[in-house]
Amino acid sequence: MKRIGVFVCHCGLNIADTVDIKKVVEDIGKHPNVAHVVDYTYMCSDPGQEMIKSAIVEKKLDGVIVAACTPTLHETTFRNAISSVGLNKYQFENANIREQCSWVHKDNKIATEKAIEIIKSIIEKLKLNQSLSAINIPVTRKALVIGGGISGMQAALDIANSGYEVVLVEKTSSIGGRMSQLSETFPTLDCASCILTPKTVEVGHHPNIKLLTYSEVEGVEGYLGNFKVKIRKKPAYVDWDKCTGCGICSEKCPTKISSEFERDMGTRKAIYIPFPQAVPKKPVIDSNHCIYFKTGKCKLCEKNCPIGAIDYDQKETTIEEEIGVILVATGFDLLPKESIGEYGYGKYQDVIDGLQFERLLSASGPTAGKIKRPSDGKIPKDIVFVQCVGSRDPEHGMPYCSKICCMYTAKHALLYKHAVHDGQAYVFYIDIRSGGKGYEEFVQKAVEDEKIIYLRGKVSRIFKDVGDDGKLIVWGVDTLTGKKIEIAADMVVLAMAAVPNKDTKELAKKLKISTDTYGFINEAHPKLRPVETLTAGIFLMGCAQAPKDIPETVAQASGAAARALTILSKSELEIDPLIAAVDEDICTGCGICLEVCAYNARKLHEIKKIAEVNEALCVGCGSCISACPSNASIHKNYTKEQILRMIEEVT
């Protein structure tokens, strides 16, 4: 007969206030299997753990129950404690008398009875617990980073500098992401390219980083430590090994089209390098706009290329990589201004979004840093910035705060004033959210030194004025004075809501990780596991998780890299053995468990023709156990017999 020790925790007053601990100890002490029972204020504390350890030795216990909080909090603590004195980890059980008892009841008597029943039912389970040992799986010590923006680059560098290999996949032809589109960064006004290029260059040349730009993740198989990733390399129609990045091809290309990098504020050629500091500095041909691809004629780039690097026959290739951990950094986009009817559904040329304004401010942008409005190139003398467009607005867009707009709008207004001294900038805002080192001071500087007029209220409508000066009438309200405001503006900049990049959802499906209502990737725990996804071995960072600014993104990327390194630094990983198993004598090989398994952890043994469990993939969800028609699927230490006995005990 098992000799079980029961340790009842007061959790301060969390449990003791509602549950009569003395009565619990008295009652449980009478149980034939209980060889030892004791209570203590905080079982999870060091003295509490010491009590458990010495009791195991002194009373020769072969099973331990701690009646306390939920196992998600302290199961590991107590498992480790009992294994330190030689008892098998899986001879520990947690009876939850806090979340499921004391916290949800008021009546002392009922709560006490319930606590006793919970403990008794856990005794029934523990009686049949088997001693198990952890499962070891090998780890491929290589990381995949998806997305080459600032967070992807930071994580790649952190991992590569720790001595592990990294594959960095970026869907555009160069790395740098959104940050490479920015002019200057708040609150210090460093030039974004100047602080970014050292990173892009380091990534480009790092011996441990395999950089795959113009590439996309096609499919992911496997599991933690053992992912197999298919990566599709799109054809650039240029042999990058030969190409020197001289740019003659772009100069000679006759086709001019709107540039995605310039957010339609400028143009690019059909063969192009998106921006001067691009890494790698190699061009791609946009086959949708290239004259040769459309008509079979032209070939000007080929004729002018001094080293014959143009290759119109280049094909898409797929490469496969074995990977241990995956880090997702797919970034953000702005909600299209076309979605806001009040501001003209995007039909007014001089109503632009925040990233477009960044391009106008950028020294390498289409206007060489001169603020000229798109319609006629005139320098705007009255400029209106509107914050929270589509953010904090469930009617038109997103209910959440996009977090970065208060700061970048202040920056925009300030940089505008630096460039146009006699101009007037107005900012419509709901609240100013400037939490961050030096942020509030930055906003105050904009308000006080630059005489930017901050108006607390929303803009109800923007429309074109009658007349030839191209003025835009902005109707808003100043809720502090209660006055309606009408401004005849030359240009309007909308701080559009930050939303996930459009491919994020599709990628999340491939990776089998979850996204929230808006498409941002879910973290495993919002506070305590902010850089992990719920799928083991997949991490997240940057704006793929939620809108955030550069310092926070970089910090999170380093955090994700550190978490990933905890896996890469071992050659083998231990996995909890509390998962499904198959009773080979009973299994008929019907295959129902294969269909219900959401984790691909089931397959049929080729020769035996019965079901098998992939122990690395199984999470112990129990679907196969309830689906198995012949009771051949078992959950280790959660057998049918154990569960039935637990139920019997409480009924």
């Binding site: 009817g341 559904y345 009617e395 074109k464 009658v466």
Partner: protein
């Protein structure tokens, strides 16, 4: 094709000039308008202003009348009737509890489950006849007539009830173009006309009417087109009060869209009762050679 039509109170009193050209035009376009028998009040502003279910009974009764005629579609003209009927229908469709309470209360009537479709005549013209078809049937295009559409609120709001995009509606613009008129776009087309303030505090109404009409003058419109009797009253009749306050104010004719349809189809202009307008639009129509020669059927 026969068409079940719900008129509502205003169309039988002060807005006959909205209804009569509509009925005649629809006949000309091959649709016989059958007025809903035993119709009652649409619920009007009461059914919108309070959440007391009692105010939803009138609209529901109308739906039961519609089903009794053997159809499940009803066409309205008045923007208020359109809005109240459609909103009540949405409550019945989406809120089972309220539906049951209403049905239990109306125990002398058959249960109503929300299966009547409420259409505004503009929607019927656009979706069931088609503006391109109407363009073919127009025998006197409104050539040279510069028209600025004005929607007000009830045709558009709230989301899911209105007949077009809330912020950038096109239906009247497309309709005007189908009749051969020239559209003058105005950002004021979705502004409030002052609504029922006109009953006890005409101040905001005077200011709004002035703002809307002044803007149409700057943009070069000959006239404004509406689809709501209350907008019509505020924009047309209140011009008198605007003129009293602002001597430099210039009058502007206001049309119901149905009057323009009748003109374009060369129907009897007496149906339009232009004489009842505060600003008589006939001088304008004469100037554009759009009067006379009607086909008195």
């Amino acid at each position: 094709m026969e068409l079940c039509y719900y008129p509502g109170c205003t169309l039988k009193t002060t807005a006959k000039n909205f209804e009569m050209p509509a009925i005649a035009s629809m006949k000309k376009l091959g649709h016989k308008i059958i007025e809903l028998p035993r119709w009652n009040c649409c619920g009007t502003v009461h059914s919108l202003a309070t959440d007391d279910l009692m105010h939803q009974l009138a609209p529901v009764r109308n739906f039961i009348r519609v089903l009794e005629t053997g159809t499940d579609k009803v066409v309205t003209l008045c923007a208020m009737c359109y809005n109240t009927l459609k909103q009540t229908n949405r409550i019945i469709l989406e809120d089972a509890e309220k539906r049951d309470r209403i049905n239990n209360f109306l125990d002398e009537e058959k249960d109503y489950n929300g299966n009547v479709t409420v259409l505004h005549l503009l929607e019927f013209l656009r979706d069931e006849i088609g503006f391109s078809k109407i363009k073919e049937k127009v025998n006197r295009p409104l050539k040279g007539l510069k028209l600025s559409p004005y929607y007000g609120c009830l045709l558009l709001r709230p989301e899911g009830i209105g007949l077009d995009d809330i912020e950038a509606p096109r239906i009247m613009e497309d309709f005007i173009e189908a009749l051969g008129g020239e559209v003058i776009e105005s950002p004021f087309k979705i502004e409030c006309c002052g609504s029922y303030h006109t009953v006890n505090d005409i101040d905001p109404v005077i200011e709004r009417t002035k703002m809307i009409i002044d803007d149409s003058n700057t943009r070069g419109a000959d006239a404004i087109v509406v689809g709501c009797p209350l907008c019509f009253f505020n924009l047309d009749y209140r011009q008198k009060d605007v003129k009293n306050r602002y001597n430099e104010f210039n009058f502007k004719p206001i049309f119901y869209f149905t009057q323009l349809l009748a003109i374009a189809l060369i129907l009897d202009e007496d149906l339009c009762e232009f004489g009842e307008h505060f600003v008589d639009p006939r001088p304008l129509l004469n100037k554009r050679k759009l009067l006379g020669g009607q086909n008195k059927e």
